[in-house]
Symmetry: C2
Subunit: 457 residues, 2 copies
């Protein structure tokens, strides 16, 4: 049978990886798919660079290189278009055009799907084509397949993932070396683990894109990135990582989603989905707490299966290509089948999506790590604990670190000490009120540090 | 659309779990599958017990209970037969009859597939029906799906899994409490973690069934359980777990398969597959070394994706039901599709299986932990290391533990000491020869302990 023809939009790191993997493992892939898969054409803005990359590939000989993405999309020989451009606008336009031309689409573009997913999946459904995106979340780890197909028996309860390698590398280094964020970021940039403009990674936006996509698949809700709460790691201090350690916790940047029905401030149950990215204390003994460096891991809790974990490389040319090519094989298998046999884009039938709301951050219920720099004088602890008790927030653990351990006398010349507390669960809205009151105390001498905590049990 | 009708052969722990999950999550499953899934009939030898279980279920009302499995198989209303009997013979007969009757089949029976897989898949192929078996390996962890579909881009290099919960529970307890095997086995039986006859678990047979199935899928070879090397944990001593710990390792019962092309004794490259189950030292810092209690985890290394890990509950009513029901949803989706759209039973097209041999254990190459109880006298270490050096086996680490640490003067009244060594890689055949020579030394006073070691990097 004639090999299936693929067109690549964009030829950067991942595109080169796709080339390599399709060439090196062509026999292995054909033995699985029952038919070969070949790259027929590559479209790239920088034509000379693309030509050089293709020419250097052992399978580059027959490959057309063009600066005109639409020429590739219109090519009737091409069955599947692989979008590896990244970004929102051009990618959106070209993916919609490929769908309109009746092509199946594979994309690694989490930003695109988190923001424009609803539009793209609706268009694909109307055309009866597949849009596959395993590579968009956690690189080579087949987490989309696990969620969409492997755990279909389950009512998913929660997901928590280390889904951004750059920030996990930075946090691992901060912990290992006791350094603050800024110092480690520079090292990460030098080593190529962080980009020159690292905003998307360190502010948690990339992780929020991925958490948004996983939440849609897990709970059967539309993709709605605008509802995700996003907090990065730029404010993290080495001493909080150290204190967390002393309390038996590690700090990781997690993408979290959770099905919940806690009562809101008025006592009304708020059935909904929490969707949030922020630094999180997790017990050091959990497997995911021991995921170091640029590695990714996702923990999924389902009501039947219990807690499962998926671990691997979340980025890089070949791990990402592994996911892209797996999608190609899936499409090769189902391309000629009736669309009713396809797996639904977001795991649930498009007419069965739920209107469970994504809750505002103020309705999230979690526990907290708090660090207060306070005046070292009698009665301060009583003031602080009284404010917490009045809000019905109980304290789970308390550390006090003397001034000499945290830098001696403060700027105001007052003897200072650090109060470190772990709280039991509370509504974020309630905690915000408590923090405002605590911050207003004259004995609280610096901005309060608040880091959320999850047990992941 | 009318709900898909399922028949259960056998109604024990897993069957009850399947009932529960299909009932509790019926709406969630229908939203994903696009159609409902209902149990129409149950066949069980002990009719009264089955009737009681079905009657106790909230979805039991319309379910037929019969002692006649063939009545269920012949029922034209039943689309999918779920085999949950276990064992080889009856299960084989009934699965083949169900296939002959044109039913799709879901089975959790690893023993059946590891031994009779070739016959069953050939029959299913001739009939164009699906045989799905996610529940046969690692319970609720979707590892079969990851290997068959998620990693199709990869040439799989090796797999190493904790795929038997009973033995992992026993090893965790031995390590935590410093107890020997026999004591912990009794505790495990009391707690229900080990069966009254635990042979299949503790002798590694169950793990070998699962490793055999994963090897077939990973490397595109037929299932061939008779070629698997199987060694259990009954001989493990607490002191070896302790010494391993001092050297930075944990001991786990692993199911291992590996693509290899080491030279054999005559220097000829032996392209083939290693397939083996045995207690294994692994570096304590690896994620899988920290999988405790009855949990399962499988590490898969592919040439594109690198190292990935899958973790979760490997047994139990609902985790196993999670896998069974996921298979049901996959079948519901593809039941009316042309068989060419199905995923191949063993991941590779049936006409593309490889004849790569499973290597005899003597051709396996690995590194070793050795413990020798020796006479505590001058020259013994020189004798021992000379024999290893003559066979070109180099030593990576050496511990000596004095007699007072290991029980004082020996039975022969000779002062004794323990020599603990980690070796670099060697052929198992070579190591067997070396061990015979060492054992023959008059200064070696007890049977030598040999445990294999894998870095899993």
């Amino acid at each position: 049978m004639k090999a299936i023809q693929v067109g690549l939009l964009g030829i950067g790191t991942v595109g080169t990886g796709v080339f390599q993997v399709l060439q090196r493992n062509q026999e292995e892939i054909r033995r699985r798919a029952g038919v070969g898969i070949e790259v027929r054409a590559v479209a790239a803005r920088n034509l000379a660079r693309a030509q050089a990359i293709v020419a250097a590939s052992p399978v580059g000989a027959g490959v057309k290189v063009t600066a005109d993405a639409r020429e590739l999309i219109r090519d009737p020989q091409i069955d599947i278009v692989v979008e590896l451009i990244g970004g929102y606008d051009t990618a959106r336009t070209l993916v919609l055009e490929a769908i309109a031309a009746g092509k199946h689409v594979v994309t690694a573009n989490k930003a695109l799907l988190a923001v424009h997913g609803a539009e793209i999946f609706a268009a694909a459904r109307a055309q009866g084509v597949i849009v596959a995106f395993e590579a968009a979340v956690a690189g080579g780890i087949p987490i989309i397949k696990a969620l969409r197909e492997g755990l279909t028996a389950n009512r998913i309860q929660w997901i928590a993932g280390i889904i951004n390698g750059t920030t996990n590398f930075i946090l691992s280094e901060m912990r290992d070396k006791g350094l603050d964020f800024d110092a480690v970021l520079q090292e990460a940039q030098r080593l190529g683990y962080a980009e020159a403009d690292p905003t998307f990674d360190i502010e948690g936006i990339d992780a929020a894109h991925k958490a948004t996509i996983m939440a849609a698949i897990a709970y059967g809700i539309p993709v709605q990135f605008d509802k995700a709460y996003t907090e990065g790691i730029t404010q993290l201090a080495a001493q909080d990582i150290r204190y967390a350690e002393q309390l038996g916790y590690r700090i990781k940047l997690l993408g979290i989603s959770k099905r919940t029905d806690h009562p809101d401030a008025s006592g009304k149950p708020t059935g909904g989905i929490e969707l949030r990215v922020h630094p999180t204390l997790i017990p050091a003994k959990r497997l995911i707490a021991n995921v170091e460096g640029a590695m990714n891991a996702v923990v999924v809790n389902g009501d039947a299966v219990g807690t499962t974990l998926y671990y691997g490389k979340g980025a890089g040319a070949e791990p990402t290509a592994s996911a892209v090519v797996a999608d190609l094989v899936d499409i090769v298998r189902l391309r000629a089948a009736d669309p009713q046999h396809h797996v639904p884009y977001l795991a649930f039938q498009p007419d069965s999506l739920s209107n469970l709301p994504v809750l505002p951050m103020s309705e999230v219920v979690t526990s907290y790590y708090l660090r207060l720099r306070v005046a070292d004088q009698a009665g301060v602890l009583a003031q602080v604990t009284r404010i917490l008790a009045d809000a019905d927030i109980s304290i789970d653990a308390l550390l006090q670190r003397e001034a000499d351990e945290v830098g001696g006398e403060g700027v105001q010349g007052v003897p200072q000490t650090d109060l470190i507390m772990l709280t039991h669960e509370a509504r974020e809205g309630t905690m915000n009120g408590v923090l405002a009151k605590l911050q207003a105390l004259p004995t609280v001498l610096a901005p309060i540090v608040r880091i959320r905590k999850e047990e992941l049990a």
